[in-house]
Amino acid sequence: MKFITLFLIAAAFSGNVFAAEEGAAAPGKSVQDLAKTCAACHAADGNGTAAQYPRLAGQYHDYLERAMREYKTGDRQNAIMAGFVKTLSDADMDALARYFSAMPGKLDDLAKHEQGSE
């Protein structure tokens, strides 16, 4: 009996924890788990070669976060991305942006590639 009471209290408490994290569709999901969804198009290393999807690896993290935010608000329109970001909290987007930004990538600023150099 005591056990059941404890269980109920625990269940109620965990319910509150979830409520407190409103907006986080997948509480406790690691960034690696979240990134698996992205990998389907952007590749696990963020260097997808399917030309219609942008490379993410090495991109500025605040730009990646901004892009996800714009998909959420509708400032950027893409049916696929809009569906995914809907399930992401602010913390998720920040974590994902930093995760892919930190990967070694093929992206670069234009600084080295201005007129006269390839």
Partner: protein, 106 residues
């Protein structure tokens, strides 16, 4: 043997199709990209407001660049400076820019 020749022909056709951007003009793209360097060429450069880094675009994928620039041109992406840039680009300009940017390696 003819079957092998046929396979080579298919492979050649495939490779040619992959480089179907051959009619894109890298030189013209490079000339146009000069303008982009004003923001995208400055390492660590940030938008004034809201404050986030101007993205790295050298080495980005071809079709994605075409899609992004076309969306700016049509007013479907919000960034005001990029919208203004897109408005002045022809579809051919956009393809040439994409060809040049996607050809760059770090």
């Amino acid at each position: 043997m003819p079957r092998i020749a046929c396979r080579f022909a298919l492979l050649a056709a495939f490779l040619f199709a992959v480089s179907a951007h051959a009619d894109d003009d890298l030189k013209a793209g490079k000339a146009l990209v000069y303008t982009c360097g004003g923001c995208h060429g400055v390492t660590g450069y940030k938008n004034a407001y809201p404050n986030y880094h101007v993205p790295r675009i050298a080495g980005q994928n071809y079709d994605y660049i075409v899609a992004a620039l076309t969306e700016y041109k049509k007013g479907e992406r919000a960034h005001p400076t990029m919208r203004a840039q897109g408005e002045g680009m022809s579809d051919e300009d956009i393809r040439n820019i994409a060809a040049y940017l996607s050809s760059l390696k770090p």
